[in-house]
């Protein structure tokens, strides 16, 4: 029903909706190969997720005896209880600290750098060089630098602290963040900068009062994107920490799996619990993230 409605409006072709005419035409005939591929991949995506969810509520006995796609006959929360009793909260707090400690400075620094590069990148050799370095950073698999990072962290006496994860994570997040933010700041009409200058605003004031509000969508995108990769990061915590008290969620997940490998429902409950916060954020910021990502990479 709603589909027909959308179709009708789309076909009517409001001239004001700029992107519409293209899609209005495309909806008239079904695109079979693309449709089939989409449905096929939808099934592939949904089946494991569905399986994770229902299995995490099964008892172990139930898991071995029932059809994997049938919901639990006697749903239980025991698996979740087991995960939470195994210090889940501590790992969760660690992950939150690492994520916030990384994302806030990374986005702030990247935003400032992107602003400087857009504003004066043509004239300053320093900013041109900085920009070039960041672009190189995108082409290089930064994981390859992990051994010297490990050495530096040891020398700074930060091994086995959360800061050891945070500092390299900030550095790794900067190149892409600067690129995406610079692309957005570049779209701010030059006249606005000019009039700010006429009003006697400093560059610092212009950054906050003009560029910041106008690039907010990009900032949200970059924040979510970086937050996601830090939250899910595995290599840095694996190499730079050791004490179970410093574990972040992905690492905890891995050790938990080693400990309880036979208890599949419990392992899957831990998968659900570690992903839950991200799912909540996704539900809140989805539109922002999806449109921001396509805009950031589509350019």
């Amino acid at each position: 029903m709603s589909t027909t409605l959308t179709r009708a409006t789309a076909a009517a072709g409001h001239p004001r909706h700029v992107p519409q005419p293209n899609t209005a035409r495309r909806t008239r005939r079904p695109n079979w190969p693309a449709g089939i591929a989409s449905v096929f991949w939808l099934v592939i995506v949904v089946v494991p997720i569905y399986w994770i969810l229902i299995t995490s509520f099964k008892t172990q006995a139930n898991y071995f005896s029932t059809n994997p796609f049938v919901p639990p006959t006697e749903p239980t929360l025991d698996n979740y209880r087991l995960v939470i009793e195994n210090d889940f909260v501590g790992y969760f707090v660690n992950s939150v600290i690492v994520a916030l400690g990384t994302v806030v400075p990374a986005v702030l620094f990247s935003f400032m750098a992107a602003y400087a590069i857009v504003r004066a990148g043509n004239r300053s050799w320093f900013l041109r060089g900085t920009n070039w370095l960041f672009l190189m950073g995108l082409a290089i698999p930064l994981q390859a630098t992990i051994i010297p990072v490990y050495l530096i962290i040891i020398r700074l006496r930060m091994y086995d602290t959360l800061l050891a994860i945070i500092l390299p994570s900030i550095a790794f997040a900067i190149p892409l963040s600067v690129l995406v933010l610079a692309n957005f700041i570049r779209d701010v009409p030059k006249e606005l900068f000019e009039s700010m200058r006429m009003d006697g605003a400093t560059e610092w004031g212009t950054l906050w009062h003009l560029a910041f509000p106008l690039t907010r969508p990009a900032l949200v995108t970059v924040t979510i994107y970086n937050g996601l990769s830090v939250w899910n990061g595995f290599l840095l915590p694996l190499i730079l920490t050791q004490n179970p008290d410093r574990r972040t969620l992905p690492l905890a997940l891995w050790t938990f799996q080693g400990q309880f490998s036979i208890n599949v429902p419990a392992v899957l409950a831990s998968v659900v619990l570690t992903t839950l916060p991200i799912l909540v954020l996704y539900a809140l910021g989805r539109r922002q993230l999806l449109s921001g990502l396509t805009a950031g990479f589509g350019k």
Partner: protein, 308 residues
């Protein structure tokens, strides 16, 4: 990748006139630069230096000349790791690109149900590689996994226990994780194609298939290059997924370069050879990025970015 083809700066006269002295903004780039130099550039130089040293990860670091390089370059493990890395890269590209393209074209339609599909497609990207690997390990277990539970012999293979199957499984799981992301990139690309092109083709009587090959694909050239670069360079860093899923096994069947580096460095405590592998990893990444940029064509930049 977009990254390597920075947008041509728009030199409107007012832009160059405004802004005053560059010194007044340049300092704003300093915090980001300092962080990146400290934990990006210096380690990058450090890894080159360490490849000429001997270090067990704890004790003294001693210069060792070409020792590590000789060890690494004569080790049959290196060509094997390179080959496995190449296989993962090429096969996952081959699986992901056509599917992502088709799904991206489909998702570019603005019907409500397609938006809902896009929401679901994105979910795998929210899961950590560790979570995905753990899930598939349980799901594919020949004794207790999906196949056994459903009683389908075809699904009860020892997916992670046989060389070719394990490699195939890795490629499948990689695709499961990343096709959604690339579909979204293509969705954005398709939506930027001017509708008038399709209208003109329609008037000329071009069918959907011809429109796809003569308009959609050529218009998506840069999107394809962006997506391919991310896929190819990204595939060099599939560490966590493979580490948790197969740990490189069975045997060395899925031991990609990144995993080879980790195992030599942090399990065998041979930081010198591990650094040499890391240098190779960096060189491969750079070479691929430059190659793909070449493919993008010199005329690149301007025409593509005009609409952006």
């Amino acid at each position: 990748m977009t990254a390597l083809a920075p947008p041509a700066p728009r030199r409107s006269p007012s832009a160059t006139a405004s802004g005053g002295r560059s010194g007044s903004v340049a300092w704003m780039a300093v915090p980001a630069l300092a962080m990146f130099v400290a934990f990006g550039v210096i380690p990058l130089l450090g890894v080159l230096a360490l490849s000429f040293a001997e270090w067990d990860g704890i004790g003294q670091i001693r210069p060792a000349g070409f020792e590590s390089w000789r060890a690494v370059l004569t080790d049959p493990g290196l060509p094997h790791a390179l080959w496995v890395t190449f296989l993962v890269m090429a096969l996952s590209w081959l699986v992901q690109t056509p599917l992502s393209l088709l799904i991206g074209v489909f998702l570019a339609g603005r019907q409500r149900y397609r938006e809902i599909l896009a929401v679901i497609y994105f979910v795998p990207l929210l899961l950590s590689s560790a979570a995905i690997a753990i899930t598939y390990k349980a799901l594919l277990d020949p004794n207790f996994g999906l196949g056994a539970g459903l009683g389908i012999p075809l699904l009860t293979q020892d997916w992670l226990g046989r060389d070719a199957l394990a490699l195939g499984t890795v490629i499948f799981v990689v695709s499961w994780q990343f096709i959604p992301f690339h579909s979204l990139i293509y969705q954005g690309g398709v939506r930027q194609i001017p509708g008038t092109l399709f209208e003109a083709a329609e008037i000329d009587g071009a069918g959907r298939v011809r429109q796809f090959f003569n308009i959609t694909l050529p218009q998506l050239k840069y999107t394809i290059i962006t997506s391919s670069t991310l896929m190819v360079v990204g595939s060099l860093t599939f560490f966590d997924l493979i580490f948790v899923l197969t740990a490189g096994g069975p045997g060395d069947a899925t031991r990609v370069l990144a995993l080879d580096m980790y195992k030599r460095g942090f399990q065998a405590n041979l930081m010198g050879p591990a650094s040499a592998i890391a240098v190779i990893l960096v060189l491969v990444g750079l070479a691929l990025a430059l190659l793909l940029r070449r493919l993008g064509g010199r005329d690149g930049g301007a025409s593509q970015l005009e609409g952006a």
